[in-house]
Structures are given as C-alpha cells and as structure tokens.
Subunit: 226 residues, 2 copies
C-alpha cells in the first residue's frame, strides 16, 4: 500500500490477463488508475475492447488510448497481416516472430510522458520474466535501466518508479493473485489471433501460456475458444 | 567516416536546421540515410513538409513518418492549440511551455525499433546541449543513458550507438558545419508558429536561436519571415 486513492499511477493496459491483474493490483495499492493502451495496428484489436472493459471494471480514473501509425511494417507477425502468427512450439529458443521491436520501450516512453503531466511517480507495467516468450524488453535488467533513464529524462522534480509486480511470478501465480484481488478474467483477451468476437485460437504462444496458467493455478479458465 | 553508402543509419529528421545538418552529416559519414519523422499533432506541421524536402535533397534511402495520436493533450504549447506559443524571453530559467514530455525518449524508442529491423547500428539525433532551451532530454547524460538502455532493450546481436554530433556545438557552429556540407537551409523550417507557407514568426525561442546563429556564423539567413 503506497498510494492514496487520489494519487495517480499510470498503468499500461493491453486487455490481456497480466495487465488486468496489474490494474487491480494498482487499485489495491491505493492508486487512482490512469490506464494507457495503444492502438498500433495489432492483429488482436479485440484486445483494445478488452482494455476498455477492464478499465471500466477496475474503475479507472482515466483511460487513454494512443494511436500509432508506423507508416510501414514493424517486421512482426503481430502487426503485419502478410505474416502468419505461428502456433506455440515447445522448446523454441529464438525470438518469436511475434516480437515487436522496442515495443515495451516505446510504451514506457509514452507512459513516462503522461506520468510527468499527471505528477504521477509510479508506472505499472505487466512484464513477466518467467513466461516471457524470450522478449528482451521483458527482462529485469531492462526495467531497471529504464527507471534510471526515466529519472534523468524529464523535467519532473520527483523520482519515477517503474513498478513491475508480475516480473517474477509464474502465470499460475499471476492468476492466483488476480483471483484474490477479484479480477474477472472473462473480460480479458490474450490470444494473438482472437476472432472478432474475442474468441481465442487456443494454439498460439499466448493461448498456450494462459491455458497452462489456469491449469497450474487450479482455476477454471473462463476463456471463450473459437 | 564510419559507414559505407550501403550501411543504413536511422536519422531523426524534424525538418529544422539542426536535423537537416544531421542528415547531411550522416551522408558525409558514408551512411544510407533512413530518415524518421513524427506527425504528433505539432502546430508547426510545415515542419513535416520541410522534412520531406530535406529527405529528398539529401538523397535519403527511405523516409518514414510515424503518426501519433496522443488521445488527449500533451500539456505542451507545441501541440495544444488552446495554449499560445510564447515569445522568446531572455534569461528565462524555467522549462518553457513548448516542452513536450518525454518527446526525445519516445522518438528514440521508435528509431531504435526501426534500427533493429534495418540491422542499423547507428542512430543520429540532432540534440544540442548549448542552445537547448532547457529541455531535460537534450542533455548529454540522457543520450548516454539511452544508449545503455538501447543495448539491452532489443534482440539485436550488435551494439547500438546513439550519435549526437551536434551536442556540443553552438548554433553558429552547426550552421558553419552545414555550410561546409552543402546544406540548403532554405529548405528547413525551425519556427514554432510558422504560417501555412512555412514563413517564420521571427519572435519565438526557436526563431531567436536560429537568427542569432546565422548572425554569429556570418552566414546569410535564408529564412522567409512572415
């Protein structure tokens, strides 16, 4: 418990399972949730509808969605419709094609700009170093270094804290944390290729980790599958 | 001289005097210029037209403009049309209202993402610590820290260099450098409140430093004033 309900915190909200848990955690920590989402041409646009539902359900004080038109491909199968999102492949060591270059860095940069305006000292990000699919910008060292940078990047007269409470939790631990906080995971969408009704494919990386998480947590999976 | 004309470098290009000098410098250093501009609702949209002119004139291999819709105000007089851009006020110590929170951080984040895709190792940014209007994200320490972050933020197997060759130059030195490189400053727009024809106001911070620079450099100022 480190905020008061009038103290704003910026919460990066994708509409997935992790960031929903994050938003409820920020509220439980006593902050006025200022949710920040991005429309960057991702395939899984139903995520943005999920982010809206989550922001409303958690009682966010504000929810801003920044639209980004990259003016060309990102090289990622998450945004380029001529690339297929691959199925989960166990034991794969390489960076998957769903990797969007510098995505968390970009998202944190916008979050920091908003935090400075709000005079918010804390930014919540739902990165996870356990089930992280090998993304380099989900590593603890990245979060620590970004915090150092944040503290010299702005005109603010206070320090910033990049708060990543899910960093060392397994997916099952995240789900159990969320259950205790009262998160309704039926509102969230994790699938990289959900259909227009928000139904999950059940076969991509993201679905794999989510299903495994509910199984390991012993919690009924509320996900709707296509 | 560190690149070959086939080696890509990402060059942050605003269409102003500094970044035009930067683009010519990158070409002189032997790189294939990959120019990156941002349409973030700035008042001085004629800057973007200037960026197009500069990219063509320098023979850029590519020019990408990323559109960003902040989904709300930035708190800066550069983008919020209900705020007036102030005249230059000598000796002002405070951060001016034209400051856009975390702007260079956000721009560098996008540049890094593109550099990773291009397998480019060098990013050119035209920040300047001398005539820098007090912006915190123009300080040498900020650039150094961003480079450290860049080198853990991506999946690249090579280091990145954030190259800021104008950092310690006065405006007059920048102009003399550009003259030697053959920059046509008539293509550029620096004014924060240029009119639709790209004519400068002659009274804002940016005009002040530009005029002073041409005077100090002993170079004829090609700027068109309203």
């Amino acid at each position: 418990m480190s905020g008061s309900s009038n103290t704003p915190a910026v919460v990066l909200l994708s509409g997935g399972l992790d960031s929903a848990t994050l938003a409820w955690q920020a509220r439980a920590d006593g902050y006025a949730v200022h949710a920040l989402s991005f429309d960057y041409g991702q395939r899984h646009r139903v995520e943005l509808e999920a982010a809206d539902r989550v922001a409303r359900a958690v009682g966010a004080a504000a929810h801003r969605t920044i639209r980004i038109d990259m003016g060309g491909g990102t090289g990622s199968s998450l945004t380029d419709i001529d690339q297929a999102v691959p199925d989960y492949a166990p034991g794969e060591a390489a960076i998957p094609s769903t990797y969007v270059p510098a995505r968390n860095l970009t998202f944190l940069s916008f979050a920091l700009g908003w935090a400075e305006l709000l005079k918010a000292t804390r930014i919540y990000i739902g990165v996870n170093a356990v089930d992280y699919s090998g993304y380099p910008d989900c590593r603890p060292a990245f979060i620590e270094k970004f915090q150092e940078l944040a503290n010299i990047a702005t005109a603010a007269d206070h320090p910033f804290e990049i708060h990543a409470p899910l960093l060392h939790l397994t997916k099952a631990e995240i789900i159990r944390t969320g259950q205790a906080l009262g998160v309704d995971y039926g509102l969230t969408v994790s699938c990289y290729r959900a259909d227009e009704q928000g139904r999950a494919c059940g076969r991509c990386d993201s679905c794999h980790y989510r299903q495994q998480g509910f199984r390991d947590a012993g919690v009924t999976d509320p996900t709707r599958y296509a």
